[in-house]
């Protein structure tokens, strides 16, 4: 009997301890501790940032545009979190940020997040969309999740980007033990399971790695961009003509690439050829290796430009050249694109550095508004076109869900978080994204908001579950634990919108809480949470 009592007592004690530890602020995560500002103080880092800043300032000056002022650090931190982790900063993170010296806050934030596993996972998922698409692909020979987790490892370790891409184009072996091979096996012909769809791979290479849409010339010469001919596309596809799948996985066989002429119906064997800069392509070797050499050649500027444009889009929600994978090869390009591309090549295709450089630019740190108190200062279309203000873009579904889930917790939800939270997050996320609508592969094209999205935010399960009163719910905890009404409103704003309320807002919402206690107070806070989550500000990046 005493044995049973002891076990019972033990269980109770464990329960209390778990609860207590969840309420206690957690220790600073490893990556946030040892911050070394040296790389961001280095002359070559600062020089590139300065050059990029100048490249934007010149046209502003020419046109007499007054740019937005620098944004608040928290606003910048929110952008960075959304771009790298797909969610908003937690209260815990905001408090850490506020405790840092102002002079290096953003560098510290950026570096900490780049080393965070959440970032590599999220970036991997976003890049994977352009590498392998979103379709689950041929069932037995393709493992999308395996591919994405491998990609995440590569990004986490900051493997040079040219090497990463080489390993995709020239991958061999089994899709299970050599995850990069899924880049090839996703394009296995659906009816044979052996050969690959060369056109699919050529299309991915041209868009994702070169930032050109050769694939539009697949069926006919390009209707709008006449430098791309059908022969360019076919020549690129032919590099994959020998790729095949076998029991030992992806390898190069003996087959050739044939296309049927649409008019004469004659079959024609196509030799591999590159669409531009043929002198950079080695003459000998296996075709996919030759292609990988050519794509990643340091003089092949299309390669570095494509990645800079994509990273810029990931950070800003909008690329420097639109659409993201259609960068002209015969027209002048934005100087910032060239400057960053050169830095990317010179510094060994260092992806972390590139993202950090972008975050450090003046443009990235501009406000998305102007000071309303300055008469005559208004934002025009030119401000947006010339990046004299931060672009406003709609958040992606998983960013919205990431934000809702994070806002319901005061601590950072990540891989250290309790397993139940993570499971809930996964299940909730999937269901919400189905209802909210996923942008799919074409994820950087701009879409307007939809009515079902508003309905699911206003009346859906996720928002209800994440705001209604509950012991572990952020809204309830704020309502009950904040020392006074002002602090409660301030905290709710920080947690949901990553900013402090304006004086008007503070006054308005304190009025909603005044004099309320217990459940009434919890419910009032639930209403405030609902309101903040349904605002334009929450659903858009700004």
């Amino acid at each position: 009997m005493w044995m049973r009592n002891l076990v019972f007592g033990g269980l109770c004690l464990t329960g209390v301890l778990v609860l207590a530890s969840s309420l206690r602020p957690r220790v600073t995560p490893e990556q946030w501790k040892d911050f070394d500002p040296a790389p961001f103080k280095a002359a070559d880092f600062k020089a590139t940032v300065a050059q990029v800043n100048l490249a934007f300032r010149d046209p502003w000056k020419r046109e007499g545009l007054v740019p937005s002022a620098k944004a608040d650090d928290l606003a910048i931190a929110r952008r960075i979190s959304l771009a790298l982790t797909g969610t908003i900063p937690s209260l815990e993170e905001i408090r850490l940020l506020q405790s840092r010296d102002e002079s290096h806050r953003i560098d510290w934030w950026m570096q900490g997040l780049l080393e965070d596993r959440r970032s590599s996972d999220y970036l991997a998922e976003r890049l994977a969309r352009s590498y392998v698409g979103v379709i689950n692909g041929p069932f037995l020979v393709y493992r999308r999740r395996r591919f994405v987790s491998w990609l995440s490892d590569e990004i986490h370790e900051n493997r040079p980007y040219d090497q990463l891409v080489r390993s995709l184009i020239d991958s061999n072996g089994l899709w299970t033990s050599e995850p990069a091979a899924n880049f090839i096996t996703v394009a296995i012909k659906p009816d044979s399971n052996e050969g690959v769809q060369e056109n699919v791979l050529a299309s991915r290479v041209s868009r994702a790695f070169l930032g050109v849409r050769l694939d539009c010339a697949e069926c006919h010469d390009h209707p709008f961009q006449d430098q791309w001919k059908q022969s360019h596309f076919n020549g690129l596809a032919a590099f994959f003509g020998r790729a095949e799948n076998s029991l030992a996985g992806v390898r190069d066989g003996k087959s050739t690439y044939e296309v049927q002429d649409r008019d004469t119906l004659e079959k024609q064997t196509i030799e591999p050829s590159v669409p531009f800069l043929p002198e950079l392509c080695p003459d000998d070797g296996l075709p996919r290796k030759r292609l990988a050499d050519w794509v990643t050649h340091r003089d092949n500027k299309a390669f570095s430009r494509a990645m800079v444009n994509r990273c810029w889009a990931l950070m800003f929600g909008r690329p420097l050249v639109e659409p993201v994978d259609n960068i002209p090869t015969n027209e002048p390009l934005p100087p910032a694109l060239e400057l960053l591309a050169d830095d990317f090549v010179t510094h060994g295709y260092d992806l972390h550095r590139l993202l950090h450089l972008i975050a450090a630019t003046e443009t990235f740190q501009l406000d998305s508004a102007v000071d309303p108190n300055v008469a005559g200062h208004e934002l025009t279309d030119r401000h947006e076109e010339l990046w004299a203000t931060f672009p406003i873009s709609r958040l992606r579904p998983e960013q919205v869900v990431g934000g809702v889930v994070q806002a319901s917790s005061l601590a950072t939800l990540d891989y250290q978080s309790h397993v139940i939270f993570r499971a809930v997050k996964a299940a909730n996320t999937a269901n919400f994204i189905t209802r909210y609508g996923d942008a799919g592969e074409d994820e950087l094209a701009e879409h307007g908001g939809t009515i079902p999205q508003r309905l699911v935010m206003m009346n859906g399960e996720l928002v209800r579950d994440r705001t209604q009163e509950g012991l572990l719910q952020a809204s309830t905890r704020i309502a009950q634990m904040a020392p006074d009404d002002a602090a409660a409103i301030e905290t709710a704003y920080l947690v949901v919108l990553s900013r402090s309320p304006t004086a008007d807002e503070a006054e308005h919402f304190q009025g909603r809480l005044a004099g309320l206690k217990g459940r009434d107070r919890n419910r009032a806070m639930e209403d405030i949470y609902w309101t903040l989550l349904n605002s334009t500000e929450f659903s858009w990046n700004h």
């Binding site: 659906p190 299309s203 309303p372 947006e384 189905t434 799919g440 592969e441 859906g460 334009t536």
Partner: protein, 434 residues
């Protein structure tokens, strides 16, 4: 609405690189708000009058998720080894037989057209679904819109206050707008016996009112210094449209309980039966496309048992839908299509199942000017595949559907690229429209 939308899209595009973020935003949001715009419905009516004839107004797609066995439904081969002992029954059209699981539907054969030799190259669920629903094979270049999205994009808005594209009990791949924009995605709902998701406020009216009032405080703070930019997001308009839908009387169309018990019984006591009944109620309100899913056809094991269960739901629902549409005089206005992503192998595997078979399967069409009582094409009684040259292609079926609703399949939209893309690359099948 649509003429406006297209003009913007094309005007910007043909002149090179004008296809920028703002254009997208404007077009996309305009189209999104167009659900309820009175100007849009005016334009819409003008459009309808101009087109003269009486094309179908709506499409009901009965989606056989997983790929239904043609042999146990619309294309039996009784007495042959591939039938696996499945019996056939006569229909009300001489010489046309169905598998014995569809006795009620057999009585409606005179209204149906069966295409028995549809062929595709897609033997994977996701790819096959994509192809059959969009009329195009999946490409990395773009996401094609499904038939329901095309209809909503091309046809006038009319008086609908509720979503014009609805998917009942979706599997993983419901209809979507693709490059036409997310606002053409299907509105997704479950078994109509349950509550319609997300259209009912979670809190009483007074609290909802207070929440919305409070929203103004946050919105005006955010708009400071960026009024025009915040307006351009159309966020608040979309919230208002969503509110309008929440209070629309047309929401009653989603409620199956408003039909008589007798009629509900005729459709069958199944989610699919209720889905078909709600589909009829929705098209009466001007909804353009309702997709009703009957999943569970992926019979790799125990095919015959599986099909028996499926047919028990399909038969009364499909048959009553046809009868009901006829009784209400809606048959000419409504095109009903019954299809899955592919058929099943003629050979039965060692587990008594049939596997994926895109090499000759059945698609059924009815109403909307389709000539009923006919069968097009045939499959081999011994089970060999239909050659690609001889079979009917999915894109021709798409072109037929488009023609039936009064659209020209060769109409082009600007797809990403940008490049012009036809609504369908096929040609209408003349015999069906005869």
């Amino acid at each position: 609405m649509e003429p406006l939308n297209q003009q913007t899209a094309r005007g910007e595009d043909l002149f090179g690189r004008g296809w920028n973020r703002r254009t997208w935003l404007k077009t996309a949001s305009l189209a999104g708000a167009g659900w309820l715009s009175p100007v849009a419905s005016m334009l819409a009516r003008a459009e309808e009058e101009r087109s003269g004839g009486e094309p179908a107004q709506s499409v009901i797609l009965l989606w056989m998720g997983g790929g239904n066995s043609q042999l146990e439904t619309f294309d039996p081969h009784p007495g042959k080894s591939i039938s696996g002992e499945t019996k056939a029954i006569n229909t009300n059209v001489a010489g046309v037989q169905f598998a014995d699981g569809l006795p009620l539907l057999a009585e409606q054969m005179d209204s149906l057209a069966i295409v028995r030799n549809v062929v595709t190259k897609e033997g994977d669920h996701e790819r096959g679904t994509y192809l059959v629903k969009t009329g195009y094979s999946p490409l990395p270049v773009m996401i094609h819109p499904t038939i329901g999205a095309i209809l909503c994009h091309e046809l006038p808005v009319g008086g609908a206050e509720i979503p014009r594209h609805v998917c009942i009990m979706p599997n993983q791949w419901p209809g979507r707008g693709g490059f036409l924009g997310d606002q053409y995605d299907a509105f997704k709902m479950g078994d109509p016996s349950g509550k319609l998701p997300d259209v009912t406020s979670r809190v009483p009216d007074d609290r909802m009112q207070r929440r919305l009032e409070d929203l103004n405080a946050v919105e005006s703070a955010f708009a400071r210094g960026r009024v025009a930019r915040v307006k351009a997001t159309l966020h608040q308009e979309t919230v208002a449209s969503a509110r309008k839908m929440m209070s629309s009387e047309q929401l009653a169309a989603f409620e199956v309980d408003q039909e008589s018990a007798e009629l509900r019984e005729r459709y069958g006591d199944s989610a699919f039966g209720r889905g078909c009944l709600v589909a009829r109620r929705l098209i009466e309100k001007g909804v353009r496309c309702v997709e009703v899913n009957l999943n569970g056809w992926d019979t790799h094991t125990g095919n015959h048992e599986g099909c028996k269960t499926q047919n028990k739901q399909l038969d009364p629902a499909f048959a009553s839908l046809i009868a009901d549409l006829k009784e209400r005089g809606l048959m000419e206005k409504t095109l009903v299509v019954c299809a899955g992503e592919f058929g099943r192998t003629p050979n039965i595997n060692p587990l008594g199942g049939r596997d994926h078979w895109p090499n000759g399967f059945s698609v059924v069409l009815a109403g909307g000017g389709i000539r009923g009582g006919q069968v097009l094409g045939e499959t081999d009684p011994e089970g060999s595949r239909v050659s690609h040259e001889q079979g009917h292609q999915i894109f021709d079926i798409h072109a037929t559907i488009l023609k039936a609703v009064g659209l020209d399949p060769t109409t082009e939209n600007i797809a990403p690229g940008p490049r012009p893309l036809k609504l369908s690359e096929g040609s209408p099948i003349a015999e069906l429209l005869g």
